[in-house]
Symmetry: C2
Subunit: 176 residues, 2 copies
DNA sequence: GATGAACGTTAGCGCCACTACCGAAGCTAC
DNA sequence: GTAGCTTCGGTAGTGGCGCTAACGTTCATC
């Protein structure tokens, strides 16, 4: 048997020693982290087909749903740090999905606004992201999906209120 | 108003433009990623008190629950990549929590085993990790925690079976 | 008109998942 | 028994991402 047990379905006692112990497998923080990895992988794979990353999607959605904004405002909407927002806007602007114009009312600011092309692009990304969600949640029924969302929302609400004193930092949470 | 609306509780229309749109906030992949960030932060903060990281914890648990193992076997149990396992074992060995001995039966292998000191250390880490889980799940009742765990387990089972063709890679999933 | 804050920007750190490659040692097939 | 595969420990490096620090410009306030 040179290369058997490659697609072997029967887990012998030799395989057991390679599996994670139940104590790790059932650890909530670990399960969540693991699920997050799958989620990110799926989203990234989908978006990669359109040459986009989750940051781009988040920024475009934030612009479409709440209108033009300065970069730091966008930062607040998306959870992307101001420092990283620079690159995101650069890339989106280079692709023509977004326009960066100086704010006449406040010359420190740039006003970022969605272009027609960006809107079209976002439509496509929406489909890809939705597909990723579908893949991610595939094993769950509609009711279960809502349960999961509800529980996670409770967690996030709780921890969003927590953080010790840091309110105006502009940059909380992941991009997608 | 130089620095008002800093700890302002009343969200005026100015604040709304800074909040993430519902479309992003309710995106399952994003919620999971966000929750994972909180989870990792909590676990890291707890473990930092003992000078440990989640990798160390995962490795120690894997050793305690399934006995001594080679490094690549440990890799399989914990989800830590073989390449990264080197450093983890180095650190654990330097702290005296683990012993690395050449395997007489197979001179390519090192047998890693838990020391008494490592067992004691792990006891402490267990408490810290448990505390982190408690903080993480604080807003949820016992029934809800089981719901969440169950749903996540379903997700993970589904996606663990998926990955296209890559079975023996030894290094799936996060460390904690 | 000086002080201090906000904005965009650059640079860099640290963690972590992941890849590629290496030499040594073991196993299998001929 | 030896040639050719794999496995193991190990080194190095990449890239994404969350996060901090600092700087010059511009604005707001006293």
């Amino acid at each position: 048997m040179t290369k058997a047990d490659e697609t072997d379905a029967a887990p012998g006692p030799a395989t057991a020693a390679w599996e994670p112990p139940a104590r790790l497998r059932s650890l909530p923080s670990r399960m969540i982290a693991h699920a997050a990895m799958h989620a990110e992988r799926l989203v990234n794979e989908e978006l990669a087909g359109a040459g986009a990353r989750k940051w781009h999607y988040a920024a475009l959605v934030a612009l479409q749903d709440k209108g033009p904004a300065s970069q730091s405002e966008l930062s607040g909407r998306t959870g992307i740090y101001r420092s990283d927002m620079v690159a995101v806007v650069n890339e989106l602007a280079a692709a023509g999905h977004v326009e960066r114009a100086p704010d006449p009312a406040d010359r420190r600011r740039n006003v970022i606004s969605l272009t027609a092309r960006g809107r079209r692009h976002l439509e496509r990304l929406d489909g890809l992201v939705a597909a990723a969600q579908e893949e991610l949640l595939a094993p769950l029924g509609p009711g279960e999906r809502e349960q999961l969302s509800g529980l996670l929302a409770r967690l996030l609400d709780h921890h969003a209120a927590r953080p010790q004193g840091r309110r105006p930092a502009a940059g909380r949470g992941p991009a997608t």
